[in-house]
């Protein structure tokens, strides 16, 4: 079992390369002179049968080498994760604007992009369902509505002292990774293809390309050194670009690069699901929830993608930290003629969690109570500690964690200050909110919770580590390097981190669900321990002693002390294998999806945020003034990296709920397809006051170092921003005992609309 020693805050392993511009991303690798550049010809229609495609002008354009349609794909025309409904190139019909219809290979990227606009596609348009409402009316869904329930919510609603109902909507979100989608494919000998891809899921691309080219997986190698950001947007969405490059390279023999233009990327790739929420809730005088009927509906887009699991995770998180005695959650998964919604940090969790936090705010508004008191009254507690899906919350640290943040960040005094400010300020109103997070850790598709690693010790004592996880900026590699270095008590600089490759570690899961360090870290630990155990046996035999210790000062064998370098050389001479694989599968989890019951999660990660905001009641402008965060990462694998994840996750969540708005027109075209119109937070949107503290506690489960996953949970800390904005709007009519009708994102226009709605 890994030790629990405090881990150092090593900087990101590539930090020096990042700041000097020397870190190589896919597009930075030198281009052979005969490399081809690719672009997709895109659908202009949201739903149509293709009657004809005329590509004569495309083929005649300058620099064009080859043009492909669906008929040119030798094997499976499929780039989907599960359902086989995402086609690489459209075949007879298009289901959303921007769908790839044909593929152009040219001598330059500009030539490819220009030619891709010259295709003439003849359509027979069909009625399109673009919104949740339209799809609901058309009974268009990607799978039947799912139900998760306990007790008898309708009966409990009738019996409850108080009852209210409400609804609201929340928008989607573009990932806006700074490095757009990109892949390079190179044909090798005898049907082999190598692909350099910016992807979170190299194994999936390997398998999809093998099927597309009618080869075996063993013929295809996918490599990822690093991504310039991903956030879920390169879990399934990288596949089309990699597959296109592979198709061109395999067909033409030229190396082929697909580097997608930013606007095309935003139009053609999936985003976070937007949701519509409706609820009917019963509660008592203290605000304790007695009964809840909740309806979640999401816009899944044109294909299945990962939407079933994402919407499941929304259901899993609409309890957040709260005991819901009689509850019924219905989750509609609507199929629309828009680009397929996909994974995005939190994977449905944020949408479910925002729903319950808004319900709590609504109950508090109707009772004229402090929303924090209502939150506290509903927390899981002994005897009230089972989730709606039947899992016992065994690690519930929400109560002490919230109490500590409340005290440290002076919630009560600041609430009085805010009230006093609002009493004297006619135009600007402030709001304050403290919201918690409880996020389930594990892939809810149980078989994905496995990982492999490969550790080599070379005869000079240097170590190479390879594992199935990919680096997208989250610091996974430095965490794992530290785990391996600690096994041998070596400095982390002794460990060389290498690119993730499907020919080193096979059959990997996506680096997703915050699981990268939990799964791959333990696999790497197991691999390193296998080698250490061999070395220990070798030393015992060589020095005829039982006392073997790996220390920072060297390896101790009885009275002997030798450097790790000497040990490696001796072991090699002694014919000891210095290479090992490691494997890990999360224990104890099982889930019955048909019944929506079981233990989908190994454990929960917790956190809480207190935010203070101000709104301008004349313009709807707002400013997040302050945030104080207390977050649970168990025993941290790297405190500095973890705090970076928390801070970045919070601001990304703030963007989702405030400035980031996706707008589609009535034809299904995305209008906000560039950073000119789609606004992620800038430096000045970061609150001037930010404190981030790590909760002092170990994971109750035996994870690596007793740490906890950190990638996704902090995103949901930003729900405190939305709640605080709601409070500020409520302050425009303090005697109104209802919740301001605010939808997310809280743009100036949405805030002004909510003020008007609250005052009437």
């Amino acid at each position: 079992m890994p030790d629990h020693a405090p881990k150092p805050s090593n900087p990101h392993d590539s930090a020096r390369l990042h700041v000097t511009g020397a870190a190589l991303y896919v597009d930075d690798v030198g281009e052979p002179g005969d490399m081809l550049h690719l672009a997709f010809g895109q659908s202009s229609e949201a739903n149509a049968r293709i009657t004809a495609i005329d590509l004569a002008a495309v083929r005649a354009a300058p620099g064009i080498v080859a043009v492909f349609t669906a008929a040119d794909i030798p094997g499976a025309n499929n780039v989907s994760p599960v359902a086989k409904d995402d086609l690489l190139l459209a075949d007879g019909e298009v289901l959303y604007v921007g769908q790839p219809v044909f593929l152009v290979a040219a001598t330059s990227q500009r030539a490819a992009r220009a030619a891709a606009r010259l295709g003439t596609i003849y359509y027979e348009p069909r009625p399109a369902s673009l919104t949740i409402d339209a799809a609901r009316k058309a009974k268009s869904e990607i799978e039947p509505t799912q139900r998760m329930a306990r007790g008898d919510a309708p009966a409990a609603l009738v019996k409850a002292q108080h009852r209210l109902s409400g609804s609201f909507a929340m928008g989607g979100q573009d990932h806006f990774y700074l490095e757009g989608q990109v892949a390079i494919a190179t044909r090798g000998e005898d049907g082999q293809v190598h692909i350099l891809s910016s992807t979170q899921h190299p194994s999936e691309i390997q398998h999809l390309v093998a099927h597309m080219l009618d080869r075996n997986s063993a013929d295809i190698t996918v490599e990822v050194r690093r991504m310039g950001g991903a956030f879920g947007g390169k879990e399934t969405q990288a596949a089309a670009f990699a597959a296109a490059a592979a198709l061109v390279a395999d067909t033409t023999g030229h190396p082929a690069k697909f580097r997608c233009d930013r606007d095309d990327d935003m139009i053609m790739t999936g985003k976070r699901h937007d949701f519509a929420v409706a609820y009917d809730v019963g509660y008592d005088d203290e605000g304790r929830l007695l009964a809840l009927q909740l309806r979640l509906a999401s816009r899944c887009g044109a294909t299945v993608d990962l939407s079933p699991a994402i919407n499941d995770r929304a259901m899993f998180h609409c309890d957040n930290c709260y005991w819901l005695p009689d509850v019924e959650i219905l989750s509609e998964r609507l199929k629309t003629n828009t680009v397929s919604a996909t994974a995005f940090r939190g994977f449905g969790g944020p949408q479910g969690m925002l729903a319950i936090e808004r319900i709590i705010d609504d109950v508090a508004a109707h009772l004229s109570r402090d929303p924090l008191e209502v939150r506290l009254a509903n927390l899981y507690a002994p005897g009230r500690d089972t989730t709606p899906y039947g899992m016992t919350v065994a690690d519930n640290i929400a109560p002490p964690l919230i109490a500590k943040l409340r005290r440290d960040a002076r919630y009560d005094a600041r609430r009085q200050d805010v009230d006093a400010f609002n009493a004297r300020s006619p135009i600007i109103k402030k709001g304050l909110a403290l919201t918690p997070v409880k996020f389930g850790i594990s892939f809810t598709t149980t078989h994905l919770n496995q990982a492999g690693a490969l550790v080599h010790v070379y005869a000079d004592g240097s170590i190479q580590i390879n594992h199935g996880g990919t680096e997208m900026g989250q610091g996974l590699h430095i965490k794992i390097a530290q785990i391996v270095a600690d096994v041998f008590a070596l400095p982390v600089s002794q460990v060389r981190i290498t690119a993730t490759r499907t020919d080193k570690v096979p059959n990997t899961s996506a680096t997703a669900a915050s699981s990268g360090a939990d799964l791959n870290g333990m696999a790497a630990y197991n691999a390193a321990m296998t080698i250490r155990d061999r070395l220990t046996d070798f030393l015992k035999r060589t020095y005829d002693c039982d006392d073997i210790r790996f220390t920072p000062e060297g390896v101790v064998a009885g009275t002997e002390r030798l450097t790790f370098r000497d040990l490696a050389r001796k072991a090699h001479m002694g014919r000891i294998s210095l290479s090992a694989t490691g494997y890990y599968a999360t224990p104890g989890i099982a889930y019955d999806r048909a019944a929506h019951k079981g233990r989908p999660f190994y454990y929960f990660a917790y956190g809480a945020a207190l935010t203070e905001v101000a709104i301008d009641t004349l313009t709807g402008e707002h400013k997040v003034l302050a945030v104080d965060i207390l977050h649970d990462v168990g025993r941290s694998l790297n405190p500095a990296i973890d705090i970076g994840q928390i801070e970045g996750g919070f601001l990304q969540g703030q963007g989702w709920l405030t400035t980031e708005q996706l707008v589609f027109d009535e034809h299904g075209r995305l209008l906000t397809h560039s950073p000119a119109t789609y606004k992620i937070p800038t430096a000045s949107d970061r609150p001037r006051h930010v404190t981030i503290a790590l909760w002092d506690g170990a994971n109750v489960e035996p994870t690596v170092n007793r740490s906890k996953a950190v990638g996704e949970p902090p995103f949901m800390l930003a729900i405190a921003v939305f709640s605080a904005l709601t409070q500020a709007i409520a302050a425009t009519a303090p005697d109104t005992r209802s919740l301001p009708p605010l939808d997310a994102p809280a743009t100036p226009e949405a805030i002004l609309r909510a003020i008007a709605g609250h005052r009437t």
């Binding site: 930090a15 870190a23 990774y177 135009i427 601001l651 006051h689």
Partner: protein, 477 residues
């Protein structure tokens, strides 16, 4: 003609330059200096930030400015000095800024990092805008991973970096041109005139030539529209058009004065105009975009024009036959149509200085405070004598097909007492002055309501109330 520029200590000479080839592509795919990244290719993310140096008006020092390489055409670099992220760590020794950023968690995925390094390096070598707060210096750089905290802290912790541009000054002087530079690429032509008369002559010979100042607009025609432009005239090297005359009467701004260079003079004219300028694009955009370009392209929003109109600005255009001067509002005839005849160019803008009886208020409403295109830009100038409004100029952007005065609102204010009741009457009038569109930046009802509320904002501000969330003190435990 060969395009020549200095990269580090190296003279780069490029023959047969495609006049709309971008510096970013040249760096990445011709020179394999791949530290400069493409994040958007439209000047909105800053991943491609580089520093461009040019002799200042004294010709004894170098003015450095951070710009976006993705929309910088190669001829615009002619005779200039260039620094990229690879220029910094000489012999593998990181600058203090780079060391700090590497150690304090300023990078996660690292893709945006070189752009931040260059913006902040510019600040430490005294580049244009170096006195701005760090958050303003990096407002044109997007990071999706970090939440910006460590980057801001790194910027705060790094002071001025010693550097000696003396040798560079000499080399730039040696590169300086006195006459029009021209080149051709296939049958396409490009020119860099050196004075307004030469510009006028070029325009009379090539009336369809595309004038390019900062390329913050034309750049996107090329990178996103994939347009081919046959004849280009670059305006970046005409000292007479780049002058600011700051007198007690007001400001006269040459057409190619960049927004970054006008910032201080604008702020002195009125703080709101300075604040508007601060929020107009990121620093890289203000370092490229010019006042004249902002007016000449006739955007219905404009940002600058509504404020200039409210302040009573006049515009001077020039052609081979001489000059014409007009109230700025008369220049904007209709959407896409301006009062500019073939062969004419925008020469200068004059903005009268507000008097002691003038109450000026300018607001830019956006979804995001920094580096966002405006939904509504409102500017008001009320002349108030003894609590009576004797004159009112009200102009808005984003409310019509052009930046436009609110004539009904002005009438409702003029010769009325400066009271809340008058303001409320004027708000009603304003609601009928415009019939705005609904687009991605805001719906028509929002635009109308927010625009009318800007009059209330002026009123409450005049009564001493806090009227902007940006004016609040920092909060927190």
């Amino acid at each position: 003609m060969t395009v020549r520029f200095l990269l580090d200590d190296m003279m780069v000479e490029l023959a047969d330059v495609d006049p709309t080839a971008t510096l970013l592509d040249h760096l990445r795919y011709r020179m394999r200096r791949t530290g400069t990244k493409e994040g958007c290719a439209e000047g909105d993310c800053g991943a491609c930030t580089v520093l461009v140096g040019d002799l200042d008006s004294t010709r004894d020092a170098v003015t450095w400015r951070a710009v976006n390489a993705c929309i910088l055409f190669l001829p615009m670099l002619h005779g200039k000095a260039l620094l990229t992220v690879e220029s910094l760590a000489k012999g593998g020794v990181l600058t203090p800024l780079q060391t700090c950023m590497a150690e304090n968690g300023s990078s996660q995925c690292g893709f945006c990092t070189p752009g931040f390094v260059m913006s902040l390096h510019g600040r430490s070598i005294g580049a244009v805008g170096h006195t701005l707060p760090v958050a303003d210096v990096i407002a044109g750089n997007l990071c999706r991973c970090t939440g910006y905290g460590p980057i801001l802290a790194a910027g705060e912790s790094i002071g001025p970096e010693p550097h000696d541009d003396a040798a560079l000054v000499a080399r730039l002087k040696a590169l300086a041109e006195t006459d029009t530079v021209s080149g051709s690429f296939g049958n396409r032509k490009w020119f860099i005139p050196r004075n307004p008369a030469a510009l006028a002559d070029l325009l009379s010979e090539y009336p369809d030539a595309r004038l390019v100042a900062g390329a913050t607009d034309v750049g996107l025609w090329v990178t996103k529209g994939l347009q081919t432009i046959d004849t280009l005239v670059f305006l970046g090297d005409i000292p007479e058009l780049a002058r600011i005359e700051d007198t007690p009467e007001g400001l006269t701004i040459g057409a190619t004065v960049r927004y970054a260079d006008a910032h201080d003079a604008f702020a002195r004219l009125h703080p709101d105009l300075g604040e508007l300028t601060r929020r107009l694009g990121g620093l890289q955009i203000r370092n490229a975009g010019t006042i004249g370009g902002n007016i000449a392209n006739g955007s219905p929003i404009g940002d600058g024009p509504p404020a200039f109109i409210a302040l009573g600005a006049t515009l001077t255009v020039r052609g081979v036959d001489g000059r014409r001067t007009m109230p700025l509002e008369d220049y904007f005839i209709a959407y896409g149509k301006q009062d500019l005849r073939p062969g004419e160019f925008v020469e200068s803008l004059h903005i009268p200085r507000p008097g002691p009886h003038d109450i000026v208020h300018i607001s830019k409403l956006t979804r995001r405070f920094d580096s966002d295109i405006t939904a509504v830009c409102g500017a008001l100038k009320l002349t108030v004598h003894d609590d009576k409004i004797t004159n009112a100029r009200v102009a808005f952007g984003g409310m019509a097909a052009t930046p436009k005065r609110a004539t009904g609102c002005e009438a409702a204010l003029t010769n009325q007492p400066f009271t809340l009741a008058t303001i409320q009457t004027a708000m009603d009038a304003l609601r009928t002055d415009y019939a705005p569109l609904t687009d991605v930046r805001g719906s028509a009802p929002y635009r109308i309501e927010a625009a009318a509320n800007l009059l209330l904002r002026l009123w409450y501000k005049s009564q001493g109330e806090t009227v902007s969330v940006l004016d609040l003190e920092s909060a927190g435990a």
